[in-house]
Amino acid sequence: MNKLDLMKKANDIRKDIITAVHAAKAGHPGGSLSAADIYTYLYFVELNVDPADPKKADRDRFVLSKGHTAPGLYAALAERGFFPVEDLKTLRHTGSYLQGHPDMKHIPGVDMSSGSLGQGISVAVGMALSAKLSNESYRVYTLLGDGEIQEGQVWEAAMLAGHRKLDNLVVIVDNNNLQIDGCIADVNSPYPIDKKFEAFNFHVINIDGHDFDQIEAAFKEAKETKGMPTAIIAKTLKGKGVSFMEDKAAWHGAAPNDEQFAVAMADLEKVGEELCQM
């Protein structure tokens, strides 16, 4: 998929996120939108996965450690063909398989249930270790929030990943700079994030998480990195693509009402039209 197609697909995924969260009347749009380009690249370029065989043994694994941004993951999975896009409107509804946070037991393509922050990265480390134990070639990816890395468990996991030289593991931090209570630097600063992962024996790559050239280069570099895990620190904009949500902590976990939904979709339609003229 070329860069323009990736941008178009990411815009579709953003529309899906808004549609799902609006239909659910709850959910987490801000961090789903900030990571939409990363989800797009993962599911349309990077990951060796097959929607027709979601459990195939040699698939690459993805663990959404910041599980609350499930709408972004679900949108990417649906767009990739793991389940119907139409089902996204059942997000968080009673009886729907699209639970508020990822549920590996019921959602095709979800490799691990998550949602309690800090736990997903440990699971990803376990998957990567398992691949090493049995000499399997699949790779493991996990996406963390920048607020999430305040959890001590993240660093327990990072220490073991570095110690075990898990070069089949890629940790991505969605650095949108905001958490529920405000700016991460004001709440309990995790900065410098890159230096912390370096200290835990990771190869660290800083990128603009909305630039597909940089995303592509980072994942290529991660693949070429031997003897240590890679951390990609992706600088992003929370709520990216929706004018009134951008850089606003208030949109971490709130759904748009009907009026706001119309504005959000108009914003994204406009981006879509511009992309079509490129």
Binding site: A57, R61, V63, D103, M104, K105, D111, M112, S113, G115, S116, G118, Q119, G120, I121, S122, V123, A124, V125, G126, M127, A128, L129, S130, A131, L133, S134, G152, Q153, E156, A157, M159, L160, H163
Partner: protein, 313 residues
């Protein structure tokens, strides 16, 4: 009981892992810097490549075990009961229990028989905590034979299992050709009509001793070993309650939420029966030699005898 062979169930755990490791190459053992004490070092020595020391990070270890389980291997995650069920409760609940990941948790140093280390390390709440997690199988074996059988059964069982082992060497009581371990099935060790004593862990042997003392006073006590607290053998518990009309639970665990709690839940709903719970009475433990603490907290045969005698009269 000085002529009876004694072995700590943690030792049985380590031995069983090494034995199972020979039979199945999908077994991976994890520990959190306590391999010498949990006895996983026995497995580590035999299969160093399948042993992962996670260091002192129990929450992470449970997550790592969950990740390994998703890839089809069978991880046994080991640490003290305090740091498994206690510290890592939420990781067990969310990364293992909720997704039904096939992780086996080997928790050693359960209960007050930890001894000298004192209250911070004496976990009397683990069975209650683990029992509340949907789909979790919870086992507390009574001796070496049963502990080995439990580890083998846990491997065969598809789904999360919590096993509690002890630090203290305890008498081998199940070393007979008729012994059969079945998950969720209690074992009647002694028939009796006056009272049913239901026990687990090292309290099974203490209860058998107490039953002998009661017999000398003409009290005929039935003794049941409930090695699997969850799923509980409700049928056996109810039948014993109907048969004797009086039930006593004995455990090296808080009287809240463990075996006593489980038995009372079943009986109060399905067969209301006067019940006495013997266990740690909603207090923290303290330092001291294990045997002394067991007596001090009312969990030795003599204390059980006294309590049951008082209860049935």
């Amino acid at each position: 009981m000085s002529d009876v062979k004694k072995i700590a169930t943690r030792e049985s755990y380590g031995n069983a892992l090494a034995e199972l490791g020979k039979l199945h190459d999908d077994i991976v053992v994890l520990d959190a810097d306590l391999a010498g004490a949990t006895k996983t070092a026995i497995f580590q020595k035999a299969f160093p490549e399948r042993f992962i020391d996670c260091g002192i990070a129990e929450g992470n270890m449970m997550g790592v075990a969950a990740g390994i389980a998703t890839t089809g291997k069978v991880p046994f995650a080991s640490t003290f009961a305090m740091f498994a069920a206690g510290r890592a409760y939420e990781q067990i609940r969310n990364s293992i229990g909720y997704p039904k990941n096939n992780v086996k948790i080997g928790a050693t140093h359960g209960g007050i028989s930890v001894g000298e280390d004192g209250a911070s390390h004496q976990c009397n709440e683990d069975l209650a905590l683990m029992r509340t997690i949907p789909g979790m199988t919870v086992i507390c074996p009574s001796d070496d034979v049963e502990a080995r059988a439990a580890v083998f059964a846990a491997y065969e069982h598809e789904g999360p299992v919590y096993m509690r082992f002890g630090r203290l060497a305890v008498p081998v009581i199940n070393d007979n050709p008729d012994y059969k371990f079945e998950l969720g099935k209690g074992i009647v060790l002694r028939e009796g009509k006056d009272v049913a004593i239901i026990a687990n862990g090292l309290e099974v042997a203490e209860s058998l001793e107490a039953a002998k003392m009661l017999a000398e006073d003409g009290i005929d006590a039935k003794v049941i070993n409930i090695h699997t607290i969850k799923p509980l053998d409700e049928e056996l518990v109810i039948a014993a309650a109907k048969e004797t009309g009086k039930v006593v639970t004995v455990e090296e665990h808080s009287i809240i939420g463990g075996l006593g709690g489980a038995v009372c839940e079943v009986l109060s709903e399905k067969c209301p029966t006067p019940t006495l719970r013997i266990g740690i009475k909603d207090v923290f433990g303290e330092s001291g030699p294990a045997k002394e603490l067991i007596a001090k907290y009312g969990l030795d045969a003599k204390s059980i005898y006294d309590a049951v005698k008082n209860f049935v009269k």
